[in-house]
């Protein structure tokens, strides 16, 4: 996180500090930190643990829930055995954070074809990581619309410049798979 030291300047722009996907025991599936508030892995783990324990008893399935502690705002939603969190500072607009969370959850549901659970998430971890990459960049919100995010992640179409003949078998297979995925997504 080479450049996240600019937090102090960001007094007006909505800024996301972290997005977390944990399992039903609080273990990491995929996490992304955009802030230097948690410099070490143990600091991150401790934060995840406190986020998890403070929210696990709540019912965040139909509507996104919200909690505030240690000057952090955490909006979260649970689907099956996955816990999704978006966190930010305590002067953020909660509703913007909830929108980011919703965009993320929507995109993941689309990419995992509505089978949102731990197994599926781990088997498609590349998609989840790309999703995290496409939704927020260094704390700035890149996109909030779930279907657009999913579209960006799954646009695995071939480079227009390369003619079909040059493709290897595996590339062709990948293309076919992509077309299938995309037709399913629509």
């Amino acid at each position: 996180m080479a450049w996240s030291f600019y937090w102090n300047n960001h007094d007006t722009c909505p800024t996301i500090k972290s997005i977390l996907v944990l399992d039903s025991e609080g273990k990491r599936i995929a996490v992304k930190y955009y802030s230097d508030d948690w410099p070490t892995n143990s600091a991150k783990s401790a934060f995840e643990k406190s986020v998890f324990t403070k929210t696990q008893k709540t019912n965040a399935r139909s509507e996104a829930e919200i909690a505030m502690f240690d000057n952090n705002i955490v909006v979260y939603k649970f689907i099956q055995d996955l816990h999704f969190f978006v966190t930010g500072g305590d002067d953020e607009n909660e509703i913007i954070m909830a929108t980011v969370l919703q965009g993320f959850v929507d995109a993941v549901s689309l990419l995992l074809r509505n089978n949102v659970d731990k197994m599926e998430a781990l088997e498609n971890l590349d998609l989840i990581l790309l999703c995290l990459d496409e939704i927020v960049d260094g704390g700035m919100v890149l996109e909030t619309d779930g279907s657009i995010i999913a579209g960006k992640v799954s646009s695995h179409s071939m480079d227009d410049a390369s003619p079909l003949a040059e493709q290897t078998i595996s590339q062709a297979l990948a293309t076919a798979r992509e077309h299938l995925t995309r037709s399913l997504l629509r």
Partner: protein, 890 residues
């Protein structure tokens, strides 16, 4: 997690069987990464290996430098593949590895090729990756492409470039600022998110230019803003403009208020909320302006979405602090939130109600809260306790039911922080509501009968020792105190002994009985307890006849330590490190309270001064460094003890060729000016740097000597000193004009060598003043009322002053504090917005020896005019008068 343990383990085993990452190991994955080097790349397999590497990194695994370099180099080979999925993973991997500068060069050309690719996805991602890993020199090479990308018709590419610009502005502002035309163009983009990113970047580029921001806001509030996010941003900028324009025009309508109000009718909830929040945070907001915002927030309170309810109740809670009357309409909705599933919402609702409730509703509220308290976490309980404390201070007549509530929850289970919050609250109530004193003290006594926290027990005992003897029947507390001597650990026993001694000193009738108890303590198993008992017995004359307790003894028992504890600690450490024959002298401890860094303040927002009179802990800072610096210069060693060093005063504008600031060091008979100079021109070397000071406007000062700086190379600060003599013990003031004098030598930037010959030159600096406040050392007292009373009214001087028209009460208060240079006590420097009067308590030490306490009462007198009553207490008439002189001449 109510499941039995065994069951959970089973579950885990089942799950583990299916995990694609089961038994994953760094070494093995790094081996697998060799497929990146295959001549025939298998894109799918490579993607999988990268996913595994990313998984490891995500789980907190770290790569050694060599491992990371190896992985990085093999990953760069994957640019040969044309598979988009793989390319995306390559981008991710490069960002995760954050390569070093020499590694970046390897991928630069590949990424630049992608930046100009026909595929939008490549372009957007390559921009983000390249900007993330790039440095200044590389940036100038790709600047042209980034400018193009900003105005690209594909929104993803434009957004990528704009967001990267926002990040790069922090590291390479001068480059990004050159893009403002392109960014300006993009603000009008039809793509919603592009507009948002462009707006964010444009604002940051122009942040320091107030006029430009104002223009931007003016044009956009009239135009079309497409995305709700951009709209939120614009609301932020608008309230910033309102804040700044407020300073200029006090009268008339608030600019842009109509725009904010219009946003309350926007269709996106985030915009409605942002606007409502902005309105409630306007400084000096009127209730007419507030009403529409409160109305939309009230609607949110009954939303089905927890996030909306939370956002609304949190904002209303803040409004309740300043405008409790404005939100009474929401009380019914608020009461239904007490039973909200979400405990954060329930707590905020309760504390809001406590702030807005009127005297008659207190009892009903307390009943509702009692049920609520049992099922929330400690951190929420603390918030409720704080709210109840302020409620009690607001309605002193209701102290009985509130004090009962506090004592009830004090008896229940709870952690240290929670108990401490309750005890602090009771202590504050005892202090501020005289009627509550006796019952409050008894509650505390009962609490220490069964208290597991040593810290709280000792604090309460200390407090009992001060307040107990002043009650109608002091003898009833003795039993509780002596029980501690019998039952508790050594620390508590020792403080109980001190408390007993205080009762003995203050209440003559109790003396004989106290002596009996203290004598029993002489046989305690702990040294400290025995020592204290012996000391107090001899001081109070317990070994012989009953004598009248004299003033010295009382001072010793009740007087506060007149140096900050941190300073005492550092001085003692220094003393121990350099053993000497001399005894440690407490007068050698610096008395200046070191200013607290802002970070510490931010951590505890809105915290009231600690209830149990602990002196505010102050971290060490620059003052120590000055002291060391000054004492290391032999010429200054004869001046005696340094009494105060001022904060640096800038003598040049920001971003000039030479940056100079000055620190004033005050001694009894001398003043030393320390000029800190920085040369900001790389092509110059300054030599023989000195400051020529003209003291013709400072009659009582005469220049003694100066200490020029031999050489001042680029960007390495140096100091030059000028010493003035002044009459001993007189707070002399005056104005000094300064001229920087030096020899300039050109430096060849390539070799860094300076030319032989230099040119003499001068540089005008701004004037410098020595003011009375420079002789004042900030020294806080833990309990102002006690200090004020013990100082006595003998040398009190009271007078009234008209301060004329002022911008606000807060501004008047802070300017008087700055004028006097004293330490505000008990948080009284903060003026609540909209209040018409304010009392501020200050303390300090004048001319390095005289303790001074000041009580300032401010009131608004007529339109904007502020009147002030100044009461000064000190140990000397002339000192009290001197303080008045400062104010009347300032």
């Amino acid at each position: 997690m109510a499941q039995p343990l065994v069951k959970k383990d089973d579950d885990r085993d089942d799950e583990a069987e299916f995990s694609p990452f089961l038994g994953i190991e760094k070494g093995a994955v790094l081996q697998e990464a060799r497929v990146f080097n295959d001549p025939q790349l298998d894109a799918r397999r490579c993607s999988q290996v990268i996913t595994k590497l990313l998984y490891l990194l995500n789980q907190g695994e770290t790569f050694t430098k060599t491992e990371a370099t190896e992985v990085f180099f093999s990953v760069t080979k994957l640019f040969q593949s044309r598979d988009i999925a793989l390319r995306r993973m390559v981008y991710l991997m490069i960002k995760e590895l954050s390569p070093s500068a020499d590694e970046v060069i390897i991928v630069t050309s590949s990424l630049m090729k992608d930046m100009n690719s026909k595929t939008d996805m490549y372009r957007a991602n390559a921009i983000r990756v390249l900007c993330r890993i790039t440095d200044g020199t590389l940036l100038t090479q790709i600047e042209r492409y980034l400018k193009q990308a900003i105005v690209d018709k594909n929104p993803i590419v434009a957004s990528a470039a704009l967001v990267s610009g926002i990040h790069l502005l922090q590291t390479n502002p001068e480059i990004v600022k050159r893009w403002s035309n392109e960014v300006q163009e993009t603000v009008q983009s039809r793509a919603a998110l592009v507009q948002f990113h462009a707006l964010a970047l444009l604002h940051q580029i122009r942040q320091s230019d107030r006029l430009a921001v104002s223009k931007l806001v003016t044009s956009l509030t009239r135009g079309t803003v497409r995305s709700p996010l951009a709209q939120c941003l614009l609301i932020c900028f608008t309230s910033q403009v309102i804040r700044e324009s407020n300073m200029n025009n006090q009268t008339g309508d608030r600019p842009f208020y109509d725009y904010l109000e219009g946003c309350l009718r926007h269709k996106a909830e985030m915009v409605i909320f942002e606007a409502a929040r902005a309105i409630t945070e306007l400084s000096g907001v009127t209730s007419r302006e507030l009403t529409p915002a409160i109305t939309v927030l009230q609607l949110f309170l009954s939303s089905s979405k927890p996030v909306l309810r939370f956002a609304a109740v949190r904002t209303l809670n803040k409004v309740a602090m300043t405008h409790p009357m404005a939100i009474t309409n929401c009380n019914i909705d608020m009461e239904s939130l007490i039973s909200d599933q979400n405990r954060s919402i329930a707590t905020l609702a309760i504390t809001t109600l406590l702030k807005t409730g009127n005297e008659s509703s207190v009892d009903r509220l307390m009943k509702q809260i009692t049920n609520f308290m049992s099922d929330i976490a400690d951190e929420f309980k603390i918030v409720v306790v704080d709210a109840i404390r302020s409620l009690c201070l607001k309605f002193p007549l209701k102290y009985r039911s509130l004090m009962n509530f506090l004592s009830n929850i004090l008896r229940e289970e709870g952690g240290f922080d929670y108990k401490k919050a309750i005890v602090d609250s009771i202590v504050i109530l005892i202090r501020d509501i005289p009627d509550a004193k006796e019952s409050g003290l008894l509650h505390l006594c009962e609490f220490i009968e069964d208290c597991e926290f040593t810290y709280l027990s000792t604090q309460i005992l200390h407090f009992l020792g001060i307040e107990g003897p002043k009650t109608s029947d002091p003898s009833k507390y003795i039993r509780y105190i002596y029980n501690r001597v019998i039952l508790e650990n050594a620390t508590v026993r020792a403080s109980a002994v001190s408390t007993l001694a205080k009762f003995g000193a203050m209440v003559d009738s109790l003396k004989p009985r106290i002596f009996v108890l203290l004598r029993r303590c002489l046989f305690d198993s702990d040294d400290e307890v025995r020592d204290r008992a012996t000391l107090y017995l001899s001081m109070l004359g317990g070994d012989g006849a009953i004598v009248e307790t004299d003033k010295d003894v009382k001072d010793f028992l009740f007087g506060s330590l007149n140096v900050p504890l941190v300073n005492l600690e550092t001085s003692l450490k220094n003393y121990v490190q350099e053993p000497s024959e001399e005894l440690f002298d407490i007068d050698s401890v610096p008395k200046e309270v070191k200013s607290q860094p802002l970070a510490a303040e931010k951590k505890a927002p809105g915290k009231k001064p600690a209830g149990l009179g602990a002196a505010p802990a102050a971290p060490t800072s620059t003052v120590d460094a000055y002291e060391k610096l000054i004492s290391s210069i032999p010429e200054f060693s004869s001046f005696g003890k340094l009494s105060k060093s001022s904060t640096p005063v800038e003598l040049t504008e920001a971003e000039t060729e030479y940056a100079v600031n000055v620190v004033k060091h005050i001694f009894d008979g001398h003043v030393v000016f320390q000029y800190n100079c920085t040369n900001t021109i790389p092509e110059q070397l300054l030599e023989n740097v000195s400051v020529i000071v003209d003291a013709s406007d400072a009659e009582e000062f005469s220049e003694v000597s100066s200490k020029p700086l031999r050489s001042l190379p680029y960007d390495s600060p140096g100091q030059t000193f000028v010493v003035f003599e002044k009459p001993d013990g007189v707070p002399a003031v005056g104005k000094f004009s300064n001229m920087l004098k030096f020899v300039v030598k050109e430096v060849d930037p390539a070799t860094g060598e300076a030319e032989e010959d230099g040119v003499e030159d001068e540089y005008q600096l701004e004037d410098l003043e020595v003011v009375a406040a420079d002789y004042m050392v900030k020294l806080g007292v833990s309990n102002f009322r006690n200090a004020w009373e013990s100082m006595g009214p003998h040398f009190e001087r009271v007078d009234e002053y008209g301060l004329g028209p002022r911008e606000s009460l807060a501004e008047a208060v802070s300017s008087v504090i700055n004028l006097l240079g004293m330490q505000p006590c008990e948080g009284t420097e903060v003026v609540p917005t909209n209040s018409r009067s304010h009392t501020c308590l200050l303390s300090g030490v004048f001319m390095s020896s005289a303790k001074v306490l000041v009580r300032l009462s401010f009131g608004i007198d007529g339109p904007k005019a502020v009147a002030m009553k100044l009461s000064v207490r000190s140990e000397d008439e002339s000192i009290s008068d001197a303080i008045h002189d400062i104010v009347s001449s300032g």
